[in-house]
Symmetry: C2
Subunit: 196 residues, 2 copies
């Protein structure tokens, strides 16, 4: 890694780069983004940018790492997983660029050689695990039917969230948060399909 940033100015610039680069990558995806584009966004030459990060791949990795840290800080302890998921969806409707970053990159990253592949493998494992734990808690406390399969439900809820984001990106009139909340109400409430 370059420019570990012992001095205040360097650190500040590094953060500015990470912030602006996130925006550009969000719009264009990993492959669609050039270092020049990022460099211009932070008023730097392309070579100047590479003083802070040795390669495009390293810059990109740092973006994901930082982003995930702040996400975890913000939502990890927000009560139960389904509530957190709904909250995140509602919040995401204000940051389409960020949503597109994850949609674009997670698809690209299916290739095992992609620089972000391992990141996404671990990310999904982690999220699924968190959700499974939360579902089990609810089952223990009787809030959720105990016949429900926690692993399957975790996978399903994460999938709805991801898929809903794609639909919303392509047609913003879709209400992501409302739809997910609605699904959860169908699953959580005993006798979902009982009435006429």
């Amino acid at each position: 890694m370059a420019a570990t940033g012992k001095y205040a100015k360097g650190v500040a610039k590094r953060n500015e780069i990470l912030h602006k680069a996130l925006e550009v990558f969000s719009r264009e995806g990993y492959r669609g983004t050039s270092l020049r584009e990022v460099a211009e966004a932070v008023n730097l030459s392309q070579a100047g940018l590479l003083h802070y990060f040795d390669s495009k791949e390293e810059l990109f990795g740092e973006i994901l790492r930082v982003r995930d840290e702040s996400d975890r800080d913000e939502y990890a302890q927000t009560g139960s997983a389904p509530d957190a998921l709904i909250a995140i969806m509602r919040h995401n409707m204000a940051v389409p660029g960020l949503v597109q970053l994850y949609a674009t990159i997670s698809a690209e990253a299916a290739e095992p050689n992609h620089p972000a592949h391992e990141f996404f493998v671990r990310r999904y494992d982690g999220l699924r695990g968190m959700f499974v734990n939360s579902v089990r808690d609810r089952q223990s406390s009787g809030t959720l039917d105990s016949s429900i399969d926690p692993e399957a439900l975790a996978s399903i809820m994460l999938a709805v969230a991801d898929g809903m984001q794609v639909q919303w990106l392509i047609n913003p009139s879709v209400d992501m948060a409302a739809n997910i909340e609605y699904l959860w109400s169908l699953i959580e409430k005993p006798g979902a399909g009982a009435a006429g």
Copy 2:
């Protein structure tokens, strides 16, 4: 459009190109795919390839058009929408490349200027419409609780399908079809959460 293909050889080569180009685009996405790469896959020079399609964008549009036609032929009238969805998921587990094409491109295509943007807007509208109709049918015939919101449910089921594909691409041990079938069983069966 170039090379409308009056002669047998031209038509055959055009089809070969569409077929192979689909594979390449599936792996690499629209932006990640070069015409040279496609050309090599069909033993043609890059200029030779452009004899059949005037531009990269035109080639790509044709791929989507052809693909959607054959999909529609195969699954459009397969009983009800949820059953068709499960069948498609099961089938998709045999064609990861194709799954990745749609995941990659649908994310890229969120940009309004993307050559495939309109295609995906129409595609989701069409799929949602089909699903809504199917849900209403089931409600009329009493197979499905009539208090369920058809629009929301359609959006949700399509989202699960899309999101499940992303999870599966990144970690193929996820059983897409089983999970979707499971979700549908939770929604369809009266008293889903009744037992303890």
